[in-house]
């Protein structure tokens, strides 16, 4: 039963054009990062610079996995085929999370290897950072799926995920110390660095918003970051599961 369901969700995901667009955009960051490294010479770790772009791409993948079904009415067919609503949601989330994790890991690894080749660097990469970036991207995609299920609107869901990824961290940076660091290290984009034991390592909130940087570093240890990451996914799935169960499609 579950295997068939997962297969159908996988078929659904790979047979829509938007998935191809999203994955092309994610893969495009590898090329862009390579060009930047080539143009600028010594650069900061490009896989971390482009992590937010990859996260947004995969968040959109998650949003569209549910949002387009509500927009087109396909959700009703899906629910006729799979009346267990939480089951449907779980299968879809599993497929989206697996695809996102694999894509993010591949993009991050490709970026890293390309940059090393172009820059001629021999420093060994921190595998925990790569794994952290992949995990974070998978959770971001699941959060996108959950938000889209609750809001049932593609535009609203994408804007919400963007707020979660970009706006809230920017607001957190303006909080008076020590809360800027504390709240900042609980934000989704910081978790990838903290997972790897580099508190606040991925500080990518734009410089143009102004204000001081994200403190000296995050305060979460790797296990705490992992728990928080799991909590983000759990809350999004629980909210989505409740919304899809309680309302008519």
């Amino acid at each position: 039963m579950m295997a068939g369901l997962l297969a159908s969700e996988w078929l659904r995901l790979r047979s829509v054009r938007s998935t191809a667009y999203v994955l092309t955009a994610a893969a495009g960051t590898v090329v862009l990062a390579g060009l930047l490294t080539w143009q600028a010479g010594a650069t900061p770790p490009m896989e971390q610079v482009f992590a937010p772009v990859v996260q947004v791409c995969l968040a959109v993948l998650g949003v569209l996995a549910m949002g387009t079904e509500y927009a087109t009415g396909a959700i009703r067919t899906s629910l006729v085929a799979v009346p267990g609503r939480r089951t449907l949601m779980a299968a879809r989330a599993a497929v989206v999370a697996a695809v996102s994790f694999a894509v993010a890991l591949a993009v991050v690894l490709a970026t890293l290897l390309l940059d090393r080749w172009i820059a001629g660097s021999t420093a060994s990469p921190d595998l925990r950072v790569l794994l952290g970036l992949g995990l974070t991207a998978a959770v971001v995609a699941v959060v996108g799926l959950g938000v889209a299920t609750v809001l049932r609107s593609t535009a609203g869901a994408i804007a919400s995920v963007v707020a979660l990824l970009f706006v809230l961290p920017a607001v957190a940076r303006l909080l008076p110390a020590p809360w800027d660091t504390r709240v900042g290290s609980a934000m989704l984009p910081s978790l990838a660095g903290e997972l790897a034991g580099r508190g606040g390592g991925v500080d990518l909130v734009t410089a143009f918003v102004g204000g001081p940087g994200l403190g000296a570093g995050g305060v979460l240890p790797p296990l705490g970051a992992l728990a928080l990451l799991a909590a983000y996914a759990a809350v999004a799935l629980a909210a989505g599961g409740a919304a899809i169960s309680l309302r008519d499609a």
Partner: protein
């Protein structure tokens, strides 16, 4: 033309998404007020040493930045929801001249975004200032008249983002695609530009839409444009350039393709 503008205004104000995006943009006022309130409370209880290190960055850029995205979504939806639902057929049957339809839409979206942007940025500043009062916080002691260019610039940039959203929406026709494109313009491009090798990091940064309001307000330190920063007049011209390109592309796309 008056009837056309009235119909576009009716269309815009009768959909829920308009009020949602405006409400989220307006919540920036609350965020700014909360930050000011928290800072004021901290200041009152802090030692002289802690006060010396305390900084509350100007909140107008943050609020304007949030409003830029919200109103850009509004601009996107003004056209992509017509394509998604098919009402674009009705709109073009009523107004067969596509450039006319686009200019009416752009006028209404631009006016709403300009009023909303200026009102939100101004209200957030006045609320924060009222809460902070005469506490000598760094960045919060200049006379209000000195802040006016900053506030006007960020408010104006909200309108530019809304119209660029409308233009991109008309070209891409997909809500998700258009919003993601705007996010790239709004957030990703400035970060990527910062990582270019000198002198291109500053040259490219100076021309990016996200950096124009800081340059327009005469405070380019916030823009990452460094030595290449545009003068206020140059930034204004660049904003106009973005509008011409986005709306021009939208007009061509609307005219050349079937809806």
């Amino acid at each position: 033309m008056v009837g056309l503008l009235r119909s576009e205004w009716l269309k815009l104000r009768s959909v829920r998404s308009t009020w949602w995006t405006l409400a989220v943009a307006g919540s920036g006022v609350l965020i700014a007020a909360a930050l000011a309130w928290w800072s004021a409370g901290y200041w009152d209880g802090a030692s002289a040493e802690a006060r010396r290190h305390f900084v509350l960055s100007p909140t107008a850029p943050l609020v304007g930045w949030l409003a830029q995205l919200c109103l850009a979504v509004l601009g996107v939806l003004a056209i992509t929801s017509e394509h998604a639902t098919g009402t674009i057929f009705g709109s073009l049957a009523a107004v067969p001249r596509r450039w006319t339809l686009l200019s009416a839409k752009a006028t209404v979206v631009g006016a709403v975004a300009l009023v909303a942007g200026e009102a939100i940025v101004l209200a957030s500043f006045l609320a924060s200032r009222a809460i902070i009062g005469d506490r000598p916080l760094r960045y919060w002691t200049a006379p209000v008249s000195q802040e006016v260019p900053v506030l006007l610039s960020w408010g104006l940039s909200v309108m530019v983002f809304a119209l660029v959203g409308l233009g991109v929406g008309a070209v891409v026709r997909s809500t998700a695609g258009a919003i993601v494109s705007l996010v790239v313009v709004w957030y990703v491009a400035p970060i990527v530009a910062l990582h270019l090798g000198a002198p291109w990091d500053e040259r490219v940064s100076s021309a990016l839409l996200s950096n124009l309001p800081a340059e327009l307000s005469g405070a380019p330190a916030l823009s990452g444009a460094g030595h290449a920063a545009l003068s206020p007049a140059g930034a204004l011209a660049a904003m106009a350039g973005y509008l011409v390109v986005a709306l021009g592309a939208a007009g061509v796309a609307l005219s050349r393709r079937d809806p």
